[in-house]
Amino acid sequence: MILVIAEQRDGKLNRATWETIAAAQQLAGGMPIKVAVLGAATAAVAQEVASAAVAEVLVAEHAALEPYTPDAYAFASRSLIESASPTYVLLPHTYQTRDFAPLLAARLRKPLITDVTAISGTGTDAAFVRPMFQGKLAAQVKPVGGPPAIVTMQIGAFRADAAQKGGSAAVRKVDIQIDPGAVRQKPEAPFREAKQAVDLGQAERIVAVGRGIKSQENIPLAEKLAKAMDAEVAASRPICDNGWLPMERQIGSSGQTVAPKLYVALGISGAIQHLVGMKGSRTIVAINKDAEAPIFEVADYGIVGDLFEIAPALITELEKS
């Protein structure tokens, strides 16, 4: 049996759950799939996932599960797993999963394979593909010492719309005990920091600059190119971390998600956390001195070369007409 742990916040299902259900259906090879929903009020989310082609939806409701804490989630999912005895436990590789899945694995003393982009084979013979070395290499890994093996799916690696729907799976409540005193984290309400003065989501064209730009003094080069293309300037995370551009211009999982007509990546390596924020762009151009940089995997047009030569040449060319 495969147990998918759904992710919800404030009674709203995280769409990445559907990607994980699609992955589970691919992995299953005849094994039944169950989806677990954890939270304080889960009825709507349980109904929503019950439309998937799965055997059953398990609901673990407890006041201590809202708001989310790693201690309460690790506790609840551990008791679910111990009673359901799955072969695999699948989750989307979200920040929440990053926070509690290793704790769950440590307590169960069972393998955890994270950030999986593909599955080869099905059932107990499956191997999982995950990036290593910043996406420069892809590793095929197998869990050792399961079952269960806990596996987390990279966001966007499986298609949510590929998840098969099957009418209505039975929803079953599962009793769980959580000692609120054993929950050591006390979360406050989530908040947003960056003033969203620029909405890059509306930009038609974006020139995004990465660490290849070397220093703050060179940022104007990117700005000049953006101007010549009638584009907004954006950046990878390290550029914003350094304060070379404001955080509101950061693209990626912890910044903005954009899908402009044109996205020019200037000296950006193409880490997955950056790609999730821009790979929906219609046309992607990558300029990078490293021909093996992962950014070329999503690019429509690529130039391998020194951005300090290419960008000025582009500006000259654009200003000609």
């Binding site: 920040y95 290499l137 989530p190 044109l262 690019a299 047009y301 070369g305 060319e317």
Partner: protein, 260 residues
């Protein structure tokens, strides 16, 4: 406050991958190494906390003899001493083995706060810190962008620690928790300082305690194959001199992609 920082030595960002003969690991002879990026931020955060609250900063690293280089670098940046769990097999070990190895070497030190990076740049499990926390019996919080310690509440008191956790899409959340605790630090939490000549000289005299790898640690996963990833898109590569490439790209963006 007694603070531990876990630091991994990883291949540099410029390193071009080359595989070993069995294609299950990299050719280590070719690699040049550096400090894992978020770990450098974790170290900086520890040094700042020591400046504010006093105490000591202890660097903990598991790996072959080569990891001494990053240990010395951390000592040169200001850490007080180090623990090195040394074994050749630790260079390619998984998160479970590393966490167990570190826990065994760290548990008697009774640290108030343990900082790790949120993820390693080589294997990228994003697990080691949290597993280590569990083995040390500490609560954890991950992807941290600010750390506030209230020294008045002291050890074991609720709300001794208040941390800012990063959520997706530009959201954050403050979380209070007791000490001792383990935090996994996100890059960009602070501005890094680099070693001074004085620091480098001082580091030579600082203690590095060697710890041995406990027997019988079991890996939780096995790499059965390693390869350069396959491309999902057909990228049209544009060659030529910068001027020629620029000309062709602009033309194609205008006429083919209609993006300009």
């Amino acid at each position: 406050m007694k603070i531990a920082v876990c630091i991994k030595q990883v291949p540099t960002r410029e390193w071009q991958p080359r595989l070993n003969d069995s294609k299950t690991w990299i050719r280590e002879q070719d690699v040049s190494y550096e400090m894992n990026e978020p770990d450098a931020y974790a170290l900086e955060e520890a040094l700042r906390l020591r400046e504010k609250h006093g105490g000591e900063v202890v660097v903990c690293s598991a790996g072959p003899a080569r990891v001494q280089t990053v240990i010395r670098e951390a000592l040169a940046r200001g850490a007080d001493r180090a623990i090195h769990v040394e074994h050749d097999s630790l260079g390619a070990a998984d998160a479970f083995v590393i966490a167990e190895a570190l826990a065994a070497a760290m548990k008697d030190e009774k640290f108030d706060l343990v900082l790790t990076g949120l993820q390693s740049d080589d294997q990228g499990h994003g697990q080691t810190g949290v597993i280590l926390a569990e083995r040390l019996g500490m609560p954890s919080s991950t992807i941290i962008m600010d750390v506030q310690v209230d020294p008045s509440t002291g050890s074991g008191q609720v709300a001794a620690l208040r941390v800012k956790r990063e959520l997706e899409g530009g959201w954050f959340q403050w979380i209070a928790m007791p000490l001792p605790a383990l935090l996994t630090i996100q890059s960009g939490i602070n501005q890094l300082r680099y070693a001074t000549l004085k620091g480098i000289m001082a580091a030579k005299k600082k203690e590095i305690r060697k710890a041995s790898l406990p027997d019988g640690l079991q890996p939780a996963q096995q790499i059965v194959g390693l390869a350069v990833p396959t491309r999902s898109k057909q990228t049209q590569m544009i060659d030529g001199s910068p001027a020629a490439a620029a000309k062709e790209l602009v033309q194609r963006l205008r006429e083919e992609a209609r993006a300009l």
